[in-house]
Symmetry: C2
Amino acid sequence: MNDLAPIGYAGRADRVRQRFDEAALLVTNLTNVRWLTGFTGSNGWVAVLPDRLVLGTDGRYRDRAETELADAGVDAEILTGFTRPEQHDQLIGTLRGLATVGAEAASITHAAWTSLAAEIDIVASDGHVEAERRVKDDGEVARIAEAARIADAALAAVAPTLGDGLTEVDVRDELDHRMRRLGAAGPSYDTIVATGPQNAARPHHEPGTRRIVEGDTVVIDVGALVDGYHSDMTRSYVVGDASAEQGEVYALVLEAQLAGLDAVSAGVAAREVDAVCRDIFEAAGRLDWYLHGTGHGVGLVIHEDPFHSRTSTQELLVGDVVTVEPGLYRSGFGGFRVEDLVVVTESGCRILTETSKDTPCLPSRPTT
Amino acid sequence: MNDLAPIGYAGRADRVRQRFDEAALLVTNLTNVRWLTGFTGSNGWVAVLPDRLVLGTDGRYRDRAETELADAGVDAEILTGFTRPEQHDQLIGTLRGLATVGAEAASITHAAWTSLAAEIDIVASDGHVEAERRVKDDGEVARIAEAARIADAALAAVAPTLGDGLTEVDVRDELDHRMRRLGAAGPSYDTIVATGPQNAARPHHEPGTRRIVEGDTVVIDVGALVDGYHSDMTRSYVVGDASAEQGEVYALVLEAQLAGLDAVSAGVAAREVDAVCRDIFEAAGRLDWYLHGTGHGVGLVIHEDPFHSRTSTQELLVGDVVTVEPGLYRSGFGGFRVEDLVVVTESGCRILTETSKDTPCLPSRPTT
């Protein structure tokens, strides 16, 4: 990752401080801990105090915490305990004497909360880090773009083989293996390879041993993980020549997806991106084939704010990284979904996904 | 998985009922939900009521829940809601009118707890499912054994290449890819390939781009995932001829590991398995090279009760599936760990790991 722009850790804690009203904020959501400090361990907390940060973790992670915080340029006191009582005492010692402390009730367990509340005055104070984490800086976008590039390259190698008589898991395994060989830490979620009249009709199908045959619709939803950052894209195919209905449905999904992309811009309501796709499907009499929302934010987690859904109340911001991913599905027909990953700009968006979506058709060369 | 013995879901809820004192138990830990019902979705709860089970999840999972509970032979009412308020109302409707309800405070978030406590009388009631989940039935052991077999086969193919000038991630990627091609859902944890004087000295090293060279110690910790069940093993190598110290340290680790295996039997204190290994290292003056506990239970999660640690208070039970995994590590030297996965029996244990551990030496055929 040394050739990618650095992530801008400076100022993050200050921006979060301006959002909460309590004397301090105890951050226990590990994604939020990582965003604030660069620390990637599987156990830890950060106390955002008025004048400093404290990171607590266990003894396994002392070296990692020191290295990662130094690499991030984050100045924080690091406390490591080898036993749970020791770690508990360190946390209480950090917070004792302060007035009311905010804590992330949506991520901390009730058992942990009860144990803290017995010794300090805490109140639920959620969403402050998430609100800041949503907009990505140049270093974060660079990592997401690199992850998108890796998924593009893996799919470019694998898509031409879809007509070769492979199974869904064959395709999934090859995609995942290639992404790693291209430098990804792994797939950014469970890769979806959904094929044929039944499986491709399920938006979240888990790949199985079904063999791809001529005439199938094929939906491939694949992303890579780079330095903690995710990518996300979907392309859809027909193996062999598309039927008239396949051609019509694919064209409709693509029309909606391009309209969704056109709608993305800073200041636009996230629900509007969903609405433009939904309207196109409704006008074509296919709205009942649409089974999910139109997209979501992507970053250190694969699904985060903002969501392009009918119930969203959020506006898109410059620096949001979001998907636009309408699809149509029907049991007996199969399905198509087309998904790009984009960065929201003042006047529109920059598309990070580079794989072509002009036509779904692939040659069929079954081996059987 | 159709050729493996079925998992014994019958009677599980009744065994859990005998452990708790409240009118009902609300199970929110998803591993516990799966163990009780076979349901594998990423969102759900089970209410263990006096006379029946209720499973709640969201609309995405209606089909999956019905199929998986039917496959498991579990008779439960299934409630699915499409919105969060609807799901909340279903949960409250299930529990309202009962006397005090136990809930898993160690897994439920404080926000969810608060929301429930506003409407029903709940108390923390933890560990009941875990206590029953610990001992594996024949169907569970069959899946763990199959996972162990897959990891054995992947390592058998990859170990002979360690002298070929590969990097750590090369080896990791090949192991993971082969496990999937052999039928695993994936690796059962992040595969460890730790090589050379510094990296092999870190028990939980993350594979990097270091190239393996002659004289290296190499620690490979690898397991497969089959139908939700994990395997776990470690083998260690020297690339080329072992030095006198490498030979001596490897022999010591192997001696401890064999002694640890010998100690495993129903009725034995889990800490005793740790103690026999520790004693051997201490007698050899190498105890300060031992940086972790000697093993842990393995099942639907990779680390679960019982733990072979100095602080354990548990006794081994027939049907526990546990690791025995002593190792020695020193910066500048590297390290060795040898780990088998075993099923505890009345009089000892049955070893599921079949990879040889007689000698760590591999031919060196560097390509450079």
